[in-house]
C-alpha cells in the first residue's frame, strides 16, 4: 500500500504542483492517475520513487516513510516504465531487461532464465530477441521490453508514466490488453499515469482524477461513470463516453421533465413525451441543435439540452 499524507509540492517560483494531497493506493491493484497535462499527475507518481521530493507531507510504502529509505535502494525495488520507452539503445534486449538484477547483484545463473521467462511473458521469443538491440524492434515490441524490464527485479510496485502514449492506436490497444492479462498473473501494485480516459477506464481497478494539483475524485471506472463527483470529472470523462458505457434502459423523457427548462429561445427538434432518454439523445445528436423540445400531443412542455439528458440518465433509480 502506498499512502500519501498531506503532500504538497511547491516549486522555487511559488507555484504549487500538488496541493495537500492525501490518498491511498491499494496493494495488488492497478491505480490509474489521470488528469489534463500540468495537473501534477506525473509529479505525484515520481514522488513514489523519489525522483521528486515533496515540499511538505509524507509518503509511506507499507506504512514505512520513504524519506527514511535510501533512494537508490528504493528505486531498485520499484519497477519503472517511462513514457518514451527509455530503453538503452547501446544495450541488447537481454542487457536492458537484466539491468536491475545486475544492479542488485543477481548471479548470471539466476538472471538469464529470468530474462527468458519475462520475454516469453510478453510474447517475444527469447532466442530471436535477446541479442537484438532496441532500435531493431518496433515501437510496440520496444515498450513490451520496457514493461518487462520493470518486472525483472520482481518488484512489488511498478510505476508507469504514460507508457503507451507514444504508440500507434493498434499497438496501444494490444499492450493495454497484455497489461491487463499480465496483471491477472502478477498482481502487482501498479501506478499508471495517463491522460487518456479510454485507457484509464479500460485497465484501471481504481482511478484517481486530478486537476491543478488536487484530487477531484477517486473511484472505480464504473463509479466514475455512474457518479462523477462534479462537472469537471463529468466533462473529463466526456458525455460521449458516459453514454457509450451506460445503458439507460427504458427510462423515458417524461420521468425527468422537472430537470429540464420550461423556456428556451432558439431552434429545436421535437421529441415526444414518451420517447426514451436514448431516443432523445439520438434526436439531439442528429439535429445538431442545442436542445430538443419535449412535446405532449403537440404542445411543447419542456426543453432539454444534452446536459439535462445526461443528468437524467445519471440520476439514480430511486429518484424515479
Amino acid at each position: 500500500m502506498i499512502r500519501f499524507e498531506g503532500v504538497t509540492k511547491r516549486f522555487a517560483d511559488g507555484t504549487e504542483a500538488l496541493k495537500d494531497i492525501s490518498l491511498v493506493l491499494p496493494t495488488h491493484q492497478l491505480t490509474v492517475i489521470i488528469g489534463p497535462s500540468g495537473c501534477g499527475k506525473t509529479t505525484l507518481m515520481k514522488m513514489i520513487n523519489k525522483l521528486e521530493k515533496p515540499t511538505e507531507g509524507k509518503i509511506y510504502i507499507d506504512e514505512e516513510p520513504i524519506t527514511e529509505m535510501d533512494e537508490v535502494q528504493l528505486r531498485r525495488s520499484i519497477g519503472y516504465v517511462i513514457q518514451r520507452i527509455g530503453l538503452f539503445p547501446h544495450m541488447t534486449i537481454s542487457d536492458n531487461v537484466s539491468l536491475v538484477p545486475r544492479l542488485v547483484g543477481w548471479s548470471k545463473e539466476k538472471t538469464e532464465p529470468r530474462v527468458r521467462e519475462l520475454l516469453d511473458l510478453v510474447g517475444l521469443n527469447p532466442e530471436t530477441y535477446m541479442n537484438r538491440y532496441p532500435l531493431e524492434l518496433s515501437g510496440g515490441q520496444q515498450q513490451r521490453v520496457g514493461v518487462v524490464r520493470a518486472l525483472a527485479g520482481d518488484p512489488n510496485i511498478i510505476l508507469m508514466d504514460e507508457p503507451f502514449s507514444a504508440l500507434d492506436p493498434i499497438s496501444r490497444e494490444q499492450l493495454q490488453d497484455e497489461l491487463q492479462n499480465l496483471q491477472q498473473t502478477i498482481h502487482k501494485t501498479i501506478v499508471f499515469v495517463t491522460h487518456d480516459m479510454d485507457e484509464a477506464l479500460k485497465i484501471a481497478d481504481s482511478i484517481v482524477v486530478m486537476r491543478a494539483g488536487k484530487v477531484e475524485q477517486i473511484g472505480s471506472p464504473q463509479e466514475l461513470i455512474d457518479e462523477p463527483a462534479n462537472e469537471f470529472v463529468q466533462n473529463f470523462i466526456g458525455t460521449e463516453r458516459i453514454r457509450r458505457q451506460r445503458s439507460f434502459g427504458e427510462r423515458r423523457v417524461k420521468e425527468y421533465i422537472a430537470l429540464f427548462d420550461a423556456e428556451w429561445q432558439g431552434q429545436t427538434q421535437e421529441v415526444s413525451l414518451d420517447s426514451t432518454i436514448d431516443e432523445a439523445f439520438r434526436v439531439l445528436e442528429n439535429s445538431g441543435l442545442e436542445r430538443v423540445a419535449v412535446a405532449d400531443r403537440g404542445a411543447i412542455v419542456a426543453y432539454a439540452s444534452e446536459r439535462h439528458l445526461l443528468q437524467a440518465a445519471l440520476l439514480k433509480e430511486e429518484g424515479v
Binding site: K46, N49, L51, V72, Q73, L74, R75, R76, S77, Y80, I82, Q83, R84, I85, G86, L87, F88, P89, H90, M91, T92, L99, V100, L103, Y133, P134, L135, E136, R149, A150, L159
Partner: protein, 212 residues
C-alpha cells in the same frame, strides 16, 4: 624526382629520427590533451553553468595563430620539447573538450531518467549510459585533435623541439625543394594514417545498437 629519392636515401637517418620525434610529440600531446579534456568535459557536462566559460577559454586559445603561441611560450618556458608539447596540448584541448561535452549532454534525457528511476547511481549512469552513448562524439573529437596536432607539430622546430618541421625548415633555408618534400610528405602521410586508424577505432567504438 630523382633528386628527391636521392635526398631520401642520403638523409635517411635524419628523416627517420625526425619522423619518430614528430610521432612522439603528437602522440604525447594528444594523450595529455585527452587526459585533461576528457574528465573536464565530463565535469562541465555535469556542472553546466561552467561549460560556457571553460569551452570559451579553450576556444580563445584555439584562435591564437600557432606560430604566435609558440612565440609567446618561449619567453616563459624557454625552448625545448616541453614548450612545444604545451603548445600542442593547448590546441588539442578544444576539439576533445567540446565533443565530450556535446556527446554527453546530447544523450536523451529520458534515457538518463530511465536509469535514475531504475536505481542507477550517478557513476553507473555515467559509465554505463552516458559515456558509451557519447563515445562516437568523443572519438571524433580525438580524431580532429590528432590531425590538428600532427600538422601544428611541424612548427615545433622553431622552439628547438625537432620533428619533421626541422627537415622542412632546413630545406627551405637551403632552397632544397627535395628536402622540403622529404619533410612535408611524411607529415601528410602521418596525418592521413592517424586519421584512418582513428576512424576505424571510432567506428568500432560506436555502440552496436546505434546504427542498425
Amino acid at each position: 624526382m630523382r633528386n628527391f629519392i636521392d635526398t631520401l636515401i642520403s638523409r635517411q637517418d635524419m628523416i627517420q629520427s625526425a619522423f619518430m620525434e614528430h610521432i612522439y610529440l603528437s602522440f604525447v600531446a594528444v594523450a595529455i590533451g585527452i587526459a585533461i579534456a576528457l574528465p573536464t568535459g565530463v565535469l562541465i557536462a555535469r556542472y553546466r553553468r561552467y561549460a560556457e566559460p571553460i569551452i570559451g577559454v579553450t576556444a580563445v586559445f584555439q584562435t591564437i595563430p600557432s606560430l604566435a603561441l609558440f612565440g609567446f611560450l618561449v619567453p616563459l618556458l624557454g625552448i625545448g620539447s616541453t614548450t612545444a608539447l604545451i603548445a600542442l596540448i593547448i590546441y588539442a584541448l578544444l576539439p576533445i573538450l567540446r565533443n565530450t561535452y556535446t556527446g554527453i549532454t546530447g544523450v536523451d534525457s529520458s534515457t538518463i531518467e530511465a536509469g535514475r528511476g531504475m536505481g542507477m547511481t550517478r557513476t553507473q549512469i555515467l559509465r554505463q549510459i552516458e559515456l558509451p552513448l557519447a563515445l562516437p562524439f568523443i572519438m571524433a573529437g580525438i580524431r580532429t585533435a590528432t590531425v590538428l596536432t600532427v600538422g601544428i607539430a611541424t612548427l615545433a622546430t622553431f622552439v628547438g623541439a625537432g620533428g619533421l618541421g626541422d627537415i622542412i625548415y632546413r630545406g627551405l633555408q637551403s632552397y632544397n625543394n627535395a628536402l622540403v618534400l622529404a619533410g612535408a610528405l611524411p607529415v601528410a602521410l602521418l596525418a592521413i594514417g592517424f586519421d584512418q586508424i582513428l576512424k576505424w577505432i571510432e567506428k568500432r567504438a560506436t555502440p552496436k545498437g546505434l546504427n542498425p
